[in-house]
Symmetry: C2
Subunit: 290 residues, 2 copies
């Protein structure tokens, strides 16, 4: 079974656990709606790829658990960010957003449950390597909560003056940093040298997202377009222009590749990172630019 | 320093951590508003009392951490339950609710951050006894998420038909069960025999809350009164009448006391449980009944 299928299997195990005996049925359905079918699963894939590259097999299961936990946190943040109090987005991944399909109360609760489920996933999937639980949990907490995680990132939008660097680093970068660091930690390595890879990829992903928000329409995006402009959010295309943003994206991918620490699987991991660049700039995007 | 002061100290440590370098200031203020000044802190006090009674000192720090984690989860649930999509309560503990003071986006995010902070508290406060992390985490997760935790309990209100026993057990009972079981687990004991104590106390607390909702006014409650009737929620006074509900409350306290397993500190713990009964039926409540 390849890593992609293994990631889906861990996510399925987590969501099924939440549907267990005594569960209110609609909450279970709302959670399943938020998690399946998924997006690109880029965070868990990065986590698994780093573990495979530097661990040569060690800690791969814990890395899958940590990656799935990050994906569940990502899904939780999408569900809450789509709420009327934030973006008020009616569609997500080409289907109704959770609050549109299930109502606002269940959307709030599904997000809450997904946060708890992420920790449950970490606990369950590191059962065979209990020493990894505390370090992986510390990385996850740092990426999600306050002062520097995605919740803090989203909260910057409610401040009168925004710290742009803290905003981007927390809102998009944090989960990518956690993905690369968790992969290394699961393999038993010091995660610190792997921070740069996550930071660069997170920034690249943010620039690509800014480009898509400006250049694609709702059908191509699977979510409302032009959201940054309508919510007065900073956007790289505004700052650098389209060509400038594309150049920045390419530079970030190159930096990410260069940052990969020495390890047996470094060449294969560099290939994967460059593969991301192609995925981040799909044909439709380049067609709209041309 | 007594247990009450130690609990406040752990909570202060958690909230301060969330206000650390890089934090968006308003989010930090919203979280502090949700946690201080607190309510009765009944869940962490129960956790500490059980650990003291059965552990004779062992694991007391981890029990304080687990208790504080439960209190942060309780605060998170109050912040989200007060949102306009649920109770739409403007006041809580005699001051503006979080969404009233800080707006809806920061209330959603403060609740999310408090959930993550609870896990961070567990991790930090069990650092000196790492073997306790996984068992305490499992108890916490069970009490909060799906299928049986407080999130699931709240979600029953969105179902077309409500499973009343699952609803009450999850919405109020779960955190009390976790409090008594965490106290025992922190002391290194099998937590299972301590479940009944939490269940009975949780049910007693729910009946007392139902009585207060019917009998007290907003000023005495520190939150809107008559919420159960206006949200068509089940209420023990509706089912049993005032005298019946008070009799039930007394019976539950007696059952809770009787359920305490054999241990060195059992007599002292029974005193504490009976002390709760007095707290749950304050003079103003009895005056209104008389």
């Amino acid at each position: 079974m390849d890593a992609d299928a293994l990631i889906e299997r861990v996510l399925e195990r987590s969501v099924s656990t939440g549907e267990g005996s005594g569960a209110p049925p609609l909450l279970g359905q709302a959670i399943r709606h938020a998690v399946f079918p998924g997006g690109a699963r880029v965070r868990p894939k990065l986590c698994a790829a780093v573990a495979a590259a530097c661990g040569e097999g060690r800690g791969f299961e814990a890395a899958l658990g940590a990656g799935a936990a990050l994906e569940l946190m990502h899904c939780a943040s999408l569900v809450h960010d789509d709420l009327p109090a934030f973006d008020g987005a009616d569609i997500r991944r080409g289907k109704p957003s959770v609050h549109t399909a299930f109502g606002e109360p269940l959307a709030v609760l599904a997000g809450d449950a997904l946060i708890v489920m992420a920790f449950d996933t970490l606990l369950r999937e590191s059962r065979d390597s209990p020493d990894l639980l505390a370090p992986l949990m510390a990385i996850l907490i740092d990426a999600v909560g306050t002062p520097r995680g995605i919740v803090a990132g989203q909260a910057w939008e409610s401040e009168r003056t925004i710290d742009l660097s803290a905003y981007h680093q927390a809102k998009t970068g944090a989960l990518f940093v956690a993905a690369s660091m968790s992969g290394a930690a699961a393999a038993g390595l010091d995660p610190a040298p792997w921070r740069a890879l996550g930071e660069r990829l997170g920034e690249a992903y943010q620039v690509a997202d800014d480009l898509r928000d400006v250049l694609l329409d709702e059908e191509e995006l699977g979510k409302p377009a032009g959201q940054d402009a309508s919510h007065l959010r900073p956007n790289a295309v505004q700052n650098f222009g389209i060509a400038g943003a594309i150049a920045r994206l390419k530079g970030l991918i190159a930096d990410a590749s260069d940052s990969i620490p020495q390890c047996a699987g470094a060449p294969a991991l560099r290939e994967i990172v460059h593969g991301q660049a192609a995925r981040l700039m799909p044909k439709s995007l380049l067609r709209n630019v041309a």
